[in-house]
């Protein structure tokens, strides 16, 4: 795989600094549906490019991808805006897809892994759009205290964020578990880096949730998620769990 091909693919399976493009695009999309489509399509384009070349990525891509992932995970710690947070987490998650495509037998299932990483982000994007509609922005601390004011919304939000940050038994968890187990015997340092990145996601997720869910109730008179919508989210999340387990079993 040539450097040029790598850099082109690095636009879609984000590698710093070309990752700036994705985040800039995501941020500027006005309609809430467009970011969702972008989140689903963007990594798939990257994977298509990589898989179409039918060549293994060069060795330097893996540390670069890890560095990109770690950088964005670290930066996500300080973000308060949900749309930006999604962009940074997406970058951090998708950068690790380079490790998936470098993993030999795994490569064939890479689009499914990408889908498993992206779907929770899409759900979060949808929830973020709902918050923006209700409060003017989806942002930690503005208004905060969703657990009291919008308990159903808060509940769904918590589970979706858990899905994003690769909590068991969501698909991202199995992807991460596979990567760590795959890397541990051969390159322990990579496994250690992956575990560190995973930890940063959890931290970033906890900070985001602390700003949104915890604290005194804000936004009096704002409608909570309808029961139907809540069950819809639960259904999708359950399907994700099922898909994660099924995928893990299929791969093993």
């Amino acid at each position: 795989m040539s450097i040029f091909s790598c850099l082109l693919a690095g636009l879609f399976l984000p590698l710093f600094p070309s990752s700036l493009v994705f985040n800039a695009v995501l941020r500027r999309l006005p309609h809430p549906w467009l970011p969702m489509v972008l989140l689903l399509v963007w990594p798939q384009i990257g994977l298509m490019l990589v898989l179409a070349l039918e060549a293994s990525p060069p060795d330097w891509v893996v540390p670069w991808a890890l560095l990109t992932s770690a950088l964005y995970a670290l930066r996500a710690l300080t973000l308060q805006d949900v749309r930006l947070w999604i962009g940074f987490l997406a970058t951090s998650l998708w950068a690790l897809l380079w490790l998936v495509v470098s993993g030999g037998g795994w490569a064939i299932a890479a689009p499914l892994h990408a889908l498993g990483l992206s779907l929770p982000l899409v759900l979060l994007c949808l929830l973020g759009a709902g918050l923006t509609r209700r409060f003017g922005a989806a942002r930690a601390g503005l208004p905060g205290g969703l657990a009291q004011s919008l308990p159903r919304y808060a509940g769904v939000l918590v589970v979706v964020v858990l899905a994003v940050i690769a909590t068991p038994l969501f698909p991202a968890f199995f992807t991460m578990l596979g990567l760590v187990l795959h890397a541990a015997p051969a390159v322990p340092l990579t496994a250690l880096a992956l575990a560190g990145i995973w930890l940063l996601w959890s931290w970033a997720g906890a900070r985001l949730l602390a700003g949104l869910v915890v604290g005194p109730a804000g936004g009096d008179g704002v409608a909570d998620l309808s029961r139907l919508a809540a069950w819809g989210y639960v259904g999708v999340l359950a399907a994700l769990v099922g898909a994660g387990i099924y995928g893990a079993m299929a791969l093993t």
Binding site: Q80, T132, L142, G221
Partner: protein, 1041 residues
């Protein structure tokens, strides 16, 4: 450099003044109910609530939605609301086209949320345009200068400098500082919870902390700055002056500044303030700390943190912040909006980026955009709120037709009304509560009795006594009285096996008499389980053993947990059998004469000498003769040159003999000086006969019981039992300083049963029948069990009547539990049929023994009334456990002394309890203790939320809230006195503290004259009279004086 004494004293005086509004916090071992705004009682209630809200960042009233709920439930007097609105409207100039009264009633009764919120950007012309739906005028009067001045006032007027820095830069210094100060307080104030204590605590808080910081600066992230600041002066006062001067705070603002600093952690500050004033407090005496120490520590750390942040924050002093706001107003405003969470969400990201990137041009551009958007938002929001009220008042057209000037006056009027709205609701609620009380009182005298009651029972005035008194009276021929639970006898009590004194009286009093509890049983070996528990605790408290202990015997805790959780009644009863039982005891309560005291001192000295000889020379007891001991004692006291008997017995030389005698004097304290000290201490024990007569006389006369005594006179103290409950003592007797009231009952019973006392009481007008016998008893308010004590002293002639007495008490207990238990059920189970009496008793017992029960009883929740008068006044009325009932007969008190005593003690304690419940209900997070679920016991004297927080003052949510909504109805204490108005008025005027409480509206007072049936209520600075019969509602006030 050391600060001159005069200036040090000035700083001390300022700190003392600054600490006045900080409420005391008593250790929770003996929970003292108190008014969290006690320091503001010199202000009228409404003003104090407003001041408290500013100082402690708390709410003083319920939300409008909650009051509207009470209105719908019929607990608010609507006519009183209308009268308040009418009075408000009448005091303002009319606004053409606006029926302000209709607007305000619509606002009060139908609108939720604040109608006129604080606005910084939108002006009246903007709102006027928004109301009409037209575009906003180009310049809404949002001048940069005005915003800057507003900002300076908001940030620098009273608050600490770091709060201003936090407000501008989002630095969180305040939170970091609070955490550091809490850690220091935890380490210093610990009362035995920690195994390792802070070194040098005996030198005081500031000195101990200073030493630690000086020696181990590397332990502290801010050590360098701290040591630099501390180098300025050795004294805490000097450090305070140095910090304040460095920060550039003007000296005339220091007191207010200190108050703000102390109020940040008012729980810890209140505890330090209390312990520095409690001279008898062991921990305070040994490890002194005061507010000056705390302030010096706090200010030092605050300045250190500011300096630390000073690397990236340009302004950390008052002049620098002022200059920053003046020169870069737009940035300062944006920063304040951003870090104060006041941002418009839609613009938040843009503002954040502008502030992060900097650049004057960019910031000013974003500021202009933001200002315009915020103006539109504020104006639109305000217009929408006005429209909502107008729609409910049927005045939408009128609103749209208003001129800008009229709209401004309307906004001003509504805003002003909303500021004082809480008081309007409160007074209307109180009016309804007063009406309810007065509708039930009976002024007719009781029918004459042909025989005395079977038994009389004196209960505490506590609201929980009302229920059981009612049921006891219904269970048979019982007469009950209400008296403060310490029965008018302030006691310093030394319990059997304890080495410290407990004050069993209201905290307002200091007892002079010491009572000892003694047993005639010999010393016993501790029960095996008790010893085992001691070993276990020691294993838990050392450094390494906990790891092994958990592995070795952790499973035992599992059994304990299962038992306590699944079968608490059975399991706890079984466990009690395993523990050592307290032996039967007597109270040493008669004054000792000189000979008796000498004899006791001699006996103690002899016992000590025997022990000393045994320990030092291993001499068996049979060889230590009385003569030998007498000789040693005389030698130690300097009356004999030596003790030849001992030398002969043991073959000692003269030097050894003299050495032992010297040790007896110095180590074992057998010397004249210590003997004198012992005699002085012994002089405090017990009560003289005159004192006993005085206490019994006062107690009985104060409740109007001077003749027709029954065969049994029960003195019922009360207390509560619960498991795993740090707030257990909050459920005990407030009049006994948060302890059980049994000891006071035993003391008064012993006094009143003495023939000599009874003989002398005749001269006081108290005629106790010869066969009358006072029996102490205890009312367990968690289970409603009534238990009799000291029955071994009961005359044999009374024993045959004991079964009947016990039956009556049992019936009352069961019925009381049956009435009470349904209110403790979860709301989801409220629809089930009420339990039978037996089932209710079992449920109450389980509540008292269940370690997972967060609400063993409601305690004093829902207290609302304080009735001072004959029992017959309210006997026919069920007050649902909401009234303090103090028996009183004004005809026995022509000089008002007894009434003044009731006002001074019980009423003030009642007011503290009432206010504690009031504020814990209206703002449980700020002035209450929040949920028990998050509580952790701290230092053995308080609780914190989580592992690090301010000490939680006030009452937990489980005591005053049910399902998150108020269970306690927050009202000021409605005090009803049965007496001629002049009699009551002069008594109130004579007690300065109560006069202030009444005049400032902390207590609502009603006086009912049984002779004229005239009812008078103190309202808005004067006595309002009701000429109608008392069964009519109180809103029908006819004339005022």
């Amino acid at each position: 450099m050391s600060l001159p004494l005069g200036q040090r004293l000035r700083v001390r005086a300022m700190t003392y003044m600054a600490g006045e509004p900080i409420p005391f916090f008593w250790p929770m071992r003996a929970f003292i109910h108190h008014n969290p705004l006690h320091g503001l009682e010199h202000l009228p209630f409404g003003d104090a609530v407003a001041a408290g809200a500013r100082l402690l960042h708390c709410r003083g009233h319920l939300s409008r939605r909650q009051y509207q709920g009470y209105l719908a439930a019929g607990k608010v007097d609507r006519s009183r609301l209308e009268a308040a609105v009418d009075a408000f409207v009448a005091a303002r100039p009319a606004i053409p086209g606006v029926a302000l009264g209709d607007w305000l009633m619509a606002l009060l009764t139908e609108t939720g949320g604040t109608v006129v919120p604080v606005r910084d950007f939108a002006d009246v012309p903007d709102i006027h345009a928004a109301v009409r739906g037209s575009p906003l005028p180009p310049d809404g009067g949002t001048g940069l200068g005005r915003l800057g001045e507003g900002l300076k006032t908001a940030l620098l007027a009273e608050g600490p400098v770091y709060a201003a820095v936090d407000g501008l830069y989002g630095t969180d210094i305040g939170m970091q500082l609070d955490e550091l100060v809490i850690r220091i307080c935890l380490e210093f104030l610990d009362e035995g919870q920690s195994v390792w204590g802070l070194p040098g605590r005996e030198h005081g808080l500031f000195t101990a902390w200073r030493k630690v910081v000086g020696r181990h600066g590397w332990l502290f992230p801010h050590g360098v700055h701290v040591r630099g600041i501390l180098a300025a002066d050795p004294s805490p006062e000097g450090v305070i002056v140095h910090v304040m001067e460095t920060l550039g705070v003007r000296e005339d603002r220091w007191t207010a500044y200190f108050t703000r600093e102390l109020a940040r952690l008012h729980g810890w500050a209140g505890f330090i303030r209390w312990r520095s004033s409690a001279r008898h407090y062991y921990w305070g005496r040994h490890y002194p700390a005061d507010l000056v120490d705390l302030l010096a520590v706090r200010l030092t750390l605050g300045l250190a943190l500011l300096k630390e942040h000073g690397r990236r924050v340009p302004a950390i002093t008052v002049p620098a912040i002022r200059e920053f706001i003046d020169k870069r107003t737009a940035e300062a405003c944006l920063r304040h909006e951003f870090h104060g969470s006041r941002l418009l969400p839609a613009l938040a990201q843009g503002v954040e980026e502008a502030l992060a990137l900097g650049g004057r041009v960019r910031i000013e551009r974003v500021f202009r955009e933001y200002t315009a958007a915020k103006r539109r938002h504020e104006a639109g929001h305000q217009a929408a709120r006005l429209r909502a009220v107008a729609a409910r008042a049927g005045a939408v057209t009128a609103l749209e037709g208003l001129s800008a000037g009229a709209l401004g006056r309307l906004l001003e009027g509504i805003g002003e009304f909303e500021t004082g709205e809480g008081m309007v609701w409160l007074e209307a609620m109180e009016s309804r509560a007063m009406g309810h009380l007065m509708a039930g009182v009976t002024l007719e005298p009781p029918p004459p009795r042909d025989k005395r009651p079977f038994a009389q029972a004196l209960f505490c005035i506590d609201t929980r006594s009302e229920r059981i008194r009612r049921h006891l009276e219904g269970a048979g021929d019982y007469q009950t009285f209400g008296i403060a639970g310490f029965f008018g006898v302030p006691i310093s009590f030394m319990e059997l096996g304890k080495g410290s004194e407990t004050h069993l009286c209201p905290v307002l009093l200091t007892p002079r008499n010491l009572t000892l509890e003694m047993t005639v049983d010999g010393p016993r070996d501790p029960a095996a389980v008790t010893a085992l528990e001691k070993v276990l605790h020691e294993l838990k408290e050392t450094v390494l053993t906990p790891f092994v202990t958990v592995e070795a015997i952790g499973l035992l805790f599992g059994f304990d947990m299962v038992g306590k959780t699944l079968i608490p009644r059975f399991y706890n009863r079984w466990r009690r059998h395993l523990h050592e039982h307290k032996p039967a005891t007597h109270l040493l309560m008669d004054k000792l004469d000189r000979d008796q005291a000498d004899s006791i001192v001699r006996a103690v000295q002899r016992a000590v000498i025997v022990k000393a000889v045994e320990q030092e020379y291993r001499l068996p007891a049979e060889r230590i003769t009385d003569d030998l001991v007498r000789e040693l004692r005389e030698a130690a006291l300097g009356r004999l040159p030596g003790a030849p008997g001992l030398s002969q017995e043991l073959g000692l030389g003269p030097a050894e003999e003299q050495g032992f005698i010297r040790r007896l004097r110095e180590v074992y304290r057998i010397n004249p000086a210590f003997a004198r000290l012992q005699l002085e201490r012994l002089a405090r024990i017990g009560f003289s006969l005159d004192e006993q007569v005085g206490f019994v006389s006062q107690a009985l006369r104060s409740i109007g019981l001077t003749r027709d005594f029954s065969r049994f006179v029960l003195l019922v103290g009360h207390g509560s039992t619960s498991e795993n409950n740090p707030y257990e003592s909050a459920l005990d007797c407030g009049a006994c300083g948060g302890n059980h009231g049994l000891v006071n009952a035993r003391v008064l019973a012993q006094m009143a049963n003495k023939p000599e006392v009874r003989r002398r009481l005749v001269s006081h007008g108290v005629h106790i029948a010869d066969d009358a016998w006072f029996i102490p008893a205890r009312h367990n308010t968690a289970t409603d069990a009534l238990e009799l004590f000291d029955l071994d002293r009961l005359p044999s002639t009374h024993i045959v009547y004991l079964d009947r007495l016990r039956s009556g008490l049992t019936a009352a207990s069961r019925l009381c539990a049956q009435e009470r238990i349904p209110s403790l059920r979860a709301s989801s189970r409220a629809t089930r049929p009420p339990p039978g009496a037996a089932a209710a008793c079992r449920a109450a017992e389980r509540n008292a023994m269940d370690w997972s029960q967060v609400r063993p009883e409601w305690g004093l929740s829902r207290n609302a009334y304080f009735v001072i008068g004959r029992r017959d006044l309210t006997r026919r009325l069920s007050l649902e456990g909401r009234a303090f009932l103090h028996s009183y007969d004004y005809r026995l008190d022509p000089r008002r002394r007894l009434l003044e005593n009731i006002l001074t003690g019980p009423l003030v304690v009642g007011q503290w309890i009432n206010m504690e419940h009031y504020f814990s209900t209206v703002d449980n997070a700020g002035l209450g203790a929040g949920s028990k679920v998050y509580h952790n016991i701290t230092g053995r004297f308080g609780v914190m939320r989580g592992n690090l927080s301010d000490l939680r003052t006030g009452l937990p949510a489980q005591t005053v809230l049910k399902q998150g909504e108020p269970y306690h109805e927050p009202l000021r204490l409605i005090t009803l006195m049965e007496a001629p108005l002049e009699h009551a008025r002069r008594a109130i005027e004579a007690v300065v503290a109560v006069k202030q409480l009444v005049r400032n509206g902390w207590i609502r007072v009603l006086v009912i004259d049984p002779e004229t049936t005239l009812v008078s209520v103190y309202d808005h600075g004067g006595w309002q009279h009701l000429s109608c019969p008392p069964s009519h509602p109180l809103s029908e006030e006819s004339r005022a004086s």
